[in-house]
Amino acid sequence: MDLDDQANVNRLAEGADAEEMVVILGQPDPNSAGLFAETVTRGDPTWAGPLAGVPLGLPVYHILEPEIREHMDADLYQEHVGLMELSAEVDEIIKWVKFYREGGGDTL
């Protein structure tokens, strides 16, 4: 994750809104989705940025996950996510994001 964005997320996670914070991801493939999920839960696994070794443990979801989708406007969802739903490896993406959300360790 971009280092400035890591800093921003870190700052927000310590701020007034922290209790109600949820991260929603839009990456199109399992590796990058997993990387981002890990970064905001266990810390930056590439040890490059402000979140290196900083486990924020934030609730993180991917936009493809049904539990995130269900309360969103259906037409808007189709318009903005419809293509990725068809083109991406949906199950793999959800698997990895869920893995880190649920406190997953070094391997699946």
């Binding site: 964005d5 921003n8 949820v22 991801l25």
Partner: protein
């Protein structure tokens, strides 16, 4: 996960679903978006 009244951090990607799209979707579920970004690596 009921997003109503949650504070969303939207991390989008240009080749996937981008920040502005995630914002619209989160707001449609009653959340407010406190930070939104679109990553572009190339």
């Amino acid at each position: 996960m009921n997003l109503k009244e949650k504070k969303v951090v939207a991390i989008g990607e240009r080749e996937g679903v981008n920040g502005p799209s995630l914002r619209l979707l989160a707001e449609s579920a009653g959340a407010s978006v406190v930070f939104s970004v679109t990553q572009c690596f190339v």
